[in-house]
Every structure is written in structure tokens, then in C-alpha cells.
Homo-oligomer: 345 residues x 2
């Protein structure tokens, strides 16, 4: 008998799964715990695309410690896979290992799995309990869920602005509005995404590096929306630095269908998540067309007055038709305030 | 011997003093505690302009409970007064009562007192310790401190806006951007101020009541900046409701000196604090001219696009010259976020 609740064990799986963030793309984040006679006998998480799944790591962990996994309970935040990918199906291993009960956080939204893993295990007389802490499980795998359901990358907007909603001075004299701590936070956002996307103006005005410069290792694709790729030369960092092969110019029709097509194209490039970092026009289009999932507003303690507003493309005539967001959390970062919202679906 | 620290007792004085907020104007907020042999023997705070001071209430409280205040220690967040106002000087009473030690949070910024109270008590052989928790004491009496030092009302801006810094739709079709809980919070701000100030457009577009509608009793003066008072008729609430005698039209030159003169005029009307509630032009002028003390931003989870920006009167060419604010705190209020800043001095 275990003293821990099913919910708290799934929460521990989620925490372990989180360690793979930024590394497992295009795979989901998964953590797995094995319990036998009230004791945790094995743990594992998915560390990197192509490497063993969490369930395999947990079972191997138990075995390496000398435990017999037969009759154990397996906890995992996502339904075990039942298909051959880069690795064999986890359901086979679970059945073969003699696992007794399987506790699952959420069904796999991957149409290749989607309940099939559960069915296969049930047919093998394993007791399966599903949808434990489902909301939390969906949240950590929000990128994977969108990928599977919509075949589109997860889109996060990062908007650094003044209190009066300006993202730059009229004369573009300042590259940064927010402080150094907020910019460090952005490095963390970059780490969790496959690509950074900006408009051509951002490259021309700011000549940014658009790289991850944190402690871990990560090379991001850099997507630049432009109708004139030829105007970009090696005088820009994104074309002259060591990652220049990861810079892609995409020519996009500025209509809603053009933007949708562009996102679909990114997904076909195996980009599962994209961080949109500007500028005004690009932010505005993603918001106007409802093509974003999350927005991080980094708000500097400044009032700028006349400046570049990021969103003046359309006029709302009725407040009920304004773009409503769902507040998630706020945090003080240095002198700035982070406000994190999701699209209100 | 008391087990409580001087700091914690002054903090208790501050808490008591706070109970007078919104009621003591033009007086400061004061709380007083008497301690003898380690025991609190009397407490009092200033409840209302014209009524006895905190020290008097605390000494009377002790006496009414049968204590002899001779030899007691007196704690008070503000230096006791030494001049005749609507009531006799507290220093006389303290000396007469045989108080042994006096612990003071901050010196009275009133030029009529300003250390004189301390001097008088010291000459009477009372041991006086000052500037305990001074910063906190100054903060709760920020209105009084500004009044005394600058002979101007304390100016608080309350700006309800969308995330993209818009305070209204272009067509002004919506009176409120923020939700009901944020508007209830604004009632609390109104309670703490002597007057509400708006521009003439706000009256014409929204026809607001501009009254305090909370549980306590409070009648605010309503200041409307306009060059054409004659255009306002009884069709507007501020001229037709039961408080119409508290509505004042002020014609102000829109220059910085004009705004300064206007504030000085308000102070001469015994307005010690004013809550500026809009609209765009008035906010902009107070910010541009640095004539505010605090700003409460109430940020709705909306993006409006084209709309009324509150601050486009001037252009900053260098980010170092932007209006920098000092963050104080944030709070979620219903679906909205409150961000509270002070002017960065």
C-alpha cells in the first residue's frame, strides 16, 4: 500500500517530465514512476528526442536497483505509446514486465495512439486508471497537444512594452525597453521553443542575434518574415554568425490565410513551437488573426508617449469583440512586470 | 519592561492611524499607544478632523480604564503638535500627564511644528526618541507630507486600460474597460481622496456620477477642467444629483504653469488629495508635467487595437528621458490586474 495519493504521484511525474523541456521536441514531456509495496522502485523521464521513453527509463531504473517490477504500479503523465516510432511501443514493455496497475494523467492526443495504448493494456488484463490531474498534464504538454490536434506549431508572443503599450520609441533609438532581468527570462522562453520568429523590420532596425545564450545548449531556428529576402546581407547577425544555416526567410501573404499557411509550413519544417518576438506589425497580425496561444507581456515601468504601438491594425467597435485573454500569472522581474496570458478560447 | 520592540509598537500605531483614512483630512493620520510596566494601558487614534488628537484619546483611554499615566511611555507615529489648532497642543498634555519617554515615528513636516514639539518635550525633561519606522510613517501620511511641504494636493492617477494601453474604444461605445471588482477597488481610492478630477470630455462622453458609493459615508468634491462651464447643464449627473453643490468647474490654461496654478487653487479650496480619473488628455498632461504622485493602472485582459491612447502628447527621443515610475505592488482584481507605481523622484 502506498501512502501517496495517485494525484501527488502524477504531479511528481509532471515535475520529472519538465526536465526534458526544450530538449524532447517533437516529442511530448513524459515522466514515469514505478511503485511496489508502497515504495518507489523506479523513476524515469524522456530526456531527448530519439532516446528511450520515460516508461523504459523507469523500468530500467528499477531493474538496475535490483527490483522485480512484476506486480508493480506504473504512473505516467501521458498514455504510453502503442506504435513503433523511433523506439518500440511502451505498451509491449509494460505488458511483458507484468505491471499490475497503470495510472495515466491524460490520453495521448496523437491520433496514432489516442486511447489505443489504454485498450491494449486493458486487453492484457492490466488495470488502467486514466485522467488523473488531466488539466496539469495537458498544460505541460500544451505544445504536443496543439501539434497533434492542429498540425501547427504552438505560438507564444513575447511583447516587451511600456505601461502605455509602446514597444519602441518613434525613432527606434532604443533596442530594449525592458531591463536585463526580463531579457534573461526571455532566454528561458527561447530555450523552450524550437524557433524564433520576427518580421523583417526587426532585423533591419535592431540587427538582433536571436540566439539562445543561456547555460544549456540549444540552437534555435530563426524565421524571418519578408517579401524581399534578397535585401538581407551578411551585415546582419542572423546571416553572418555560426548559426546562419538556421536562418530561414519566409515570404508570407499578410492575409489570415497567408499566416495560417506560413504556420503550417513551419510545422512541416518540424518546428513544434515558435516564439514571436516582434515587431509591431507581426505581433498585430498574430493577434488580429487569433493565431497565437500564449502571450508574455514584459512591462517596463515607463511611459513613452508617442511611440510604436504594436496593435493598431484594426478597430473594435464593441468591447465584447475585443481580443480577450485569460490571465495566468504575474511576476516582478527586475524593475519590470511579467504578465502571462493565454488566448481565451 | 516591555517585550515589544519600539518598531513593532510604532507599527501598531500606524495600523490604528490607518483607521482614520479618508476621514481626517486635512489632518494627518495618527495613532498612539501608552505603555507602562510592559503593559499597554491606553490606545487612541485621530478619528476625524476637529476631534481630539490620537495622544489625547490614548491618555483618556488609559485614565478611563483606571490607569495612572504618570511615568508611562508614549508611542506615536507622528511628532505631537506644539501649537494651538482646533485643539490645544498635545505636548502640553504629555508634559502635564508626567509621561516619561516619548517614541516618535517621524517629525511633523508641518512648518508650525517640525521639531518644536520634540524640543518642548525635551526641555520638560522627557526622554524623546525619534524616527522609528520613519519610512512607513511617511508613507501613510504621504498626503499630509506633500500638503505641508509643497502646499499642493497629493495627486493620484487611476488609469483603467487595455493591455495595449488604450483607455477607450475609438467610438467611445464602452464606458468601462475593466470589470466590476476593479471598479469596486476604485471606490476605495475615492474614499481616501478629497476630490475627483476629470476633464470635460469625460463628463460629455460618459456622464459619470463621480461619487463614492461604498459602505462608509463620504462626499467628494468633483472638479471638472473646462474652458466652457456654460456648456454643462443639468442633463449631466454631476449637476443634477444631490451633490451638485460639490461640483466645481475650473478653467485651466493647459500649460505646465496653468496646471500648477490649478493644483494650487485646489489646495486653497482645502482639497488635500485628488484622484484624477481621466480622460486621455488630462492623464497625459499630469504625466507630461510630472504633476502626479501615484498611478494605479487597472489593466483589463483585452487588446483593443485602434483606440484612445492616453498619452501621445509628446515624443521621447531617448529612452532615458521617458517617464520612469517606481513599482510598488501588483494585485489581481477580478479579471483585471492592478499595477501600482509611484513617481520616480
Amino acid at each position: 500500500m502506498t501512502l501517496l495519493s495517485e494525484e501527488s504521484i502524477i504531479e511528481s511525474c509532471i515535475k520529472m517530465a519538465e526536465k526534458g523541456a526544450g530538449k524532447v521536441s517533437p516529442n511530448p514531456l513524459v515522466g514515469c514512476i514505478l511503485i511496489k509495496n508502497g515504495e518507489i522502485i523506479g523513476k524515469g523521464f524522456h530526456k531527448k528526442a530519439g532516446s528511450p521513453h520515460a516508461e523504459v527509463n523507469a523500468i530500467n531504473d528499477a531493474k538496475s536497483k535490483g527490483f522485480n517490477v512484476k506486480g508493480a504500479d506504473l504512473y505516467v503523465n501521458l498514455e504510453p505509446c502503442s506504435h513503433y516510432g523511433k523506439t518500440p511501443p511502451c505498451t509491449d514493455l509494460i505488458i511483458k514486465s507484468g505491471i499490475k496497475n497503470v495510472f495515466i494523467g491524460m490520453q495521448d492526443p496523437n491520433p496514432l495512439v489516442n486511447g489505443k495504448g489504454i485498450d491494449i493494456m486493458k486487453r492484457a488484463k492490466i488495470n488502467v486508471i486514466s485522467n488523473i490531474k488531466e488539466k496539469e498534464c495537458i498544460e505541460i504538454n500544451k505544445i504536443f497537444v496543439k501539434n497533434m490536434k492542429e498540425k501547427l506549431p504552438y505560438v507564444t508572443l513575447k511583447i516587451a512594452q511600456s505601461l502605455d503599450g509602446k514597444i519602441a520609441l518613434k525613432n527606434y533609438s532604443s533596442k530594449w525597453i525592458t531591463g536585463i532581468h526580463a531579457r534573461q527570462f526571455v532566454q528561458g522562453l527561447r530555450f523552450r521553443n524550437d524557433a524564433i520568429l520576427v518580421g523583417s523590420n526587426t532585423i533591419k532596425k535592431d540587427n538582433p542575434e536571436l540566439t539562445y545564450r543561456g547555460k544549456k545548449k540549444k540552437v534555435l531556428k530563426r524565421i524571418i518574415l519578408t517579401r524581399n529576402p534578397a535585401t538581407f546581407t551578411e551585415k546582419y547577425n542572423v546571416l553572418s554568425d555560426e548559426y546562419s544555416s538556421e536562418t530561414y526567410f519566409i515570404s508570407t501573404d499578410i492575409s489570415k490565410s497567408g499566416y495560417r499557411k506560413m504556420l503550417s509550413e513551419l510545422y512541416s519544417m518540424e518546428i513544434t513551437s515558435v516564439l514571436v518576438e516582434g515587431g509591431a506589425f507581426v505581433f498585430s497580425k498574430f493577434i488580429e488573426y487569433d493565431l497565437f496561444d500564449d502571450i508574455y507581456f514584459m512591462i517596463a515601468p515607463k511611459i513613452i508617449g508617442k511611440g510604436i504601438s504594436y496593435f493598431e491594425n484594426f478597430e473594435i467597435t464593441n468591447l465584447n469583440k475585443s481580443k480577450n485573454l485569460r490571465f495566468e500569472y504575474s511576476r516582478k522581474i527586475g524593475d519590470d512586470i511579467l504578465l502571462y496570458y493565454k488566448k481565451n478560447k
